[in-house]
Amino acid sequence: MAVNYLYPEYEIVRDTNKCIACRVCERQCANEAHWFDPEQDKMVCDNAKCVCCHRCVSLCPTKALKIVKSDHTFRENANWTAKNIKEVYRQAGSGGVLLSSMGNPEPYPVYWDKILLNASQVTNPSIDPLREPMETVTYLGKKPTKIERDKNGKIINNLAPQLKLSTPVMFSAMSYGSISYNAHESLARAAEELGIYYNTGEGGLHEDFYKYGANTIVQVASGRFGVSKDYLNAGAAIEIKIGQGAKPGIGGHLPGIKVSEDISKTRMIPLGTDAISPAPHHDIYSIEDLRQLVYSLKEASDYKKPVIVKIAAVHNVAAIASGIARSGADIIAIDGYRGGTGAAPTRIRDNVGIPIELALASVDSRLREEGIRDSVAVVVGGSIRSSADLVKAIALGADACYIATAACLAMGCHLCRSCQAGRCNWGIATQRPELVKRLNPDVGYKRLVNLVRAWDHEIKEIMGGMGINSIESLRGNRLMLRGIGLSEKELAILGIKHAGE
Amino acid sequence: MSKIVIIGNSAAAVGCIEGIRSVDKASEIVVISDEQHHVYSRPLISYLLLGSTDRQRMKYRPDSFYADNMTDVMLGKTVVAIDPKAKNVKLKTGEVISYDKLLVATGSSPFIPPMKGLDKAKKCFTFMKLDDALALEKELTPKSRVLVIGAGLIGLKCVEGIADRVGSISVVDMADRILPSVLDKDGAQLVQSFIEKRGVKFYLNDSTAEISENKAVLKSGAEVDFDILVVAVGVRPNISLLKDIGADCGRAIKVNEKCQTSIEDIYAAGDCTESYDISADTNRVLALLPNAYMQGETAGVNMGGGEKVYDNAIPMNAMGMFGYHMITAGSYDGDVYTETDGMNYKKLFYKDNRLVGYIIIGDVERAGIYTSLIRQRTPLNEIDFELIKSKPQLMAFSAQRRAKELAQRH
């Protein structure tokens, strides 16, 4: 037997005084980390199987369990960290590309945490959102540049199609396939109740969910899975996915084993075949090509639905965004390097792309400089973790934010980052029926609604403190931001002053 | 508002009172009972001797029952005749009680067959009513030798009740097995062995040839010494009141699904009636407390002006002996599925795509699911019969039916 160089990362700690051997941990662990040993008449476990998803911890009725990070150590140093050592061992064992899930976990700067918000004192009174109206309704789409009138002097409605959001939050793209039916249903129902949108991802739209179309963004990605005329017209907007923050420049691969009957029907591909999304759209090699697709989709949907182009935040993001704005797209979505995924090559996830804060600031600045900021709305995602991040993003110039990791957390995800295994104990990133049923959409959707409502309250509170009563007045209002501990260059890109200035 | 008279004061009478009051709060109700007691549960007399209940706890309904239900009760009064034309009943005392509607719930009486020398036994008892048990109890001593004639439900419950209070118990029955009306041969053998471990001696396929003061000589030639004799060979429905006025009677009083007799405004319920046993498609006397209650309740609702039919009667019995339990139901006819495992024994009887009966001894958990299959005449091809054979479970039903049963009120 080959020597296993890897020591379990987590340890399951059981308080045997509290354990009543109800075996819920055993029944609920899809990784089979727990079992009852009749010989010892007690519960035992295998730490190597634990992914630290906390399903057992959360369900244990006597709170007899906890999971701790192993303090087992390599003889690591600042250069050869445990992570580096383990990855080498793993690849030397498997010969394969390392796969990971969720967003970039590496200790790069989080600029949201280096930006502080302003509040009113004396000279411009703050507003109490509980006493006075506070507007967070957001419209996404092209804004008209001038007022046109007919020969009778009446205003001509020249407004391009818009998405109306009750609050500047949307659930970003997660395909049916990467997440479960019940997760999709939770997102769809929450979007409907909240008056916002969720996004099909590139997996097509399940027939059961056409009824949520008014709150759905349908995605067209490089694999074109599930795309049909009905699909394009089912949603409120169409999103062309060029890239995603977790794996810029990389396509996708849903293994055939996960292409169940339902998924094959939804994606419109044969049962059990691998669903491969190419790295590029093979019909898009230029902004002009993109424009063709934008207009093809507009044509197919009778110019009634805004078209979104989603890209990953990469080095030339400002120039690319400028091109997209000129391609006819109504909305640009930018996904930062911390954006999540159901599976990505680790090296790509951890090393490619740029922070969304810097990308957003530079895109907003560039579009303003070019005088085309109003011809598109800008939506950003890639780890918006709280309403504070969201307010900062709006002040940096975003019209709205996409959230997905936070949405998954609301549904029960514990960020174990093992989505690629397909054994999600919380019923989110899995297609196994016995696991999928663990996410009751009645529960899931309510938690999503709670989360977004809570954020909306907080957004209003923060805006009130600034003396701002409408999200419109916050957008791009970088005077409300100050940097802390940032270099001159970073401040310049963000377009903000340092705290104290 | 009318006047409803009930003859009898046991389960059927209580069912009737509760049935009436569920639809009619106004009518006058009069209960006439030849016993002196507040309504008590007849089957509990053995538990009374056993010590697992007492006079107060064995009351079938609380002390306030008659008052709560605005019911007049005449205890210790015997009805001697019914005049269906004048619509009254005549008591032994000469009193005449008029009625608008009448329920006959006269129950049954112990049957004492002619036995040679029976009159010589000084301490001879039947075991049916509270007074029987109290009389028997008075004579029990730790040294008493008791002979029980009849190994049926009543005889054996009596055995259980007195087992720890007497010196020895012998049981004689003409049948080849104990509990012949509810158990098959193998099941009976299992239970018999269990009871024998408690020191009870059985004489089966046998009967008394001659009884003297302290000894019974059996037909087999065996001799059994005794101090106390209990005769529990069976019961006879008390039907004379209705038979005398020409009501339709078979072995017992015939009633329809509304528990009406053939005479207008006279209903009957309980051990004095015949029921239509849907498991065997035949009329039978089902002398069972649940059956009495449900018949009484049905009669009551109809007497009170409501509508109710009772159309799914089956024989069924739950019985325990010294902690060893058995539940049986329906008729033992058709194909048989048998399962035995030590002290656990199960037989299912099915025919024409229906479960018609079962015998379960030992592990009786969830037996009611089988009972329900019989009572509802559930077609077996609509359920997973293979699954339910091994263990009564709702998993064997279709998801649709389960949704109806578990996610809707009923």
Binding site: N17, K18, C19, I20, C22, V24, R27, Q28, S58, L59, P61, T62, A64, E434, K437, N440, D442, V443 | A11, G15, S41, P43, L44, Y47, S52, T53, R57, M58, Y60, P62, L289, P290, M294, M316, N317, A318, M319, G320, G323, H325, I327, V364, E365, R366, A367, G368, I369, T371, R375, Q376, Q393, L394, M395, A399, R402, E405, L406, A407, R409, H410
Partner: protein, 143 residues
């Protein structure tokens, strides 16, 4: 009246309802103290199938066969709730024979039965199985 309803679509077969039931009716204030080393005898039971699980407890029928069949008067129905008076029960099991759902079972002593009384007689306040169900497969509501 509010009753317990079960939706098997969401039942995970985790059996937590059984343990919460056993704890609620144990009379103890600590779950570990109540159930450690104990073979539980809950009033709600999970049936396990290949792909289906569901919990079953007293349906509190409007026409309760158990109440009508009870030979002692230990089972009664009031305002829709079927209550059990252990003091009166002699453990004859007629109710076990009668319940179409198999929801009455022998208690630990073997001399009496037990059944779900919607946690009206313990300190739980609302049905413990409902409170403890992680997936809302068991709900307590008017239908």
């Amino acid at each position: 009246m509010k009753r317990i309803y079960v939706n098997e679509k969401w039942c995970l077969g985790c059996h937590l309802c059984e343990y919460y039931c056993a704890f609620a009716n144990s009379g103890k204030d600590d779950m570990a103290k109540a159930l450690k080393g104990v073979k539980i005898n809950p009033r709600i039971r999970v049936e396990e199938g290949e792909k289906i699980n569901f919990a079953v407890s007293c349906r509190h029928c409007e026409e309760p066969l158990c109440v009508k069949s009870c030979i002692t008067g230990a089972l009664t129905i009031k305002d829709g709730l079927i209550s059990f008076n252990k003091d009166k029960c002699v453990g004859c099991y007629t109710c076990i024979m009668s319940c179409p759902y198999g929801c009455i079972m022998p208690d630990g002593s073997g001399h009496a039965v037990q059944k779900c009384e919607l946690c009206t007689k313990n300190a739980c306040g609302e049905p413990a199985c409902v409170k403890g169900c992680p997936n809302q497969a068991i709900v307590f509501e008017e239908r």
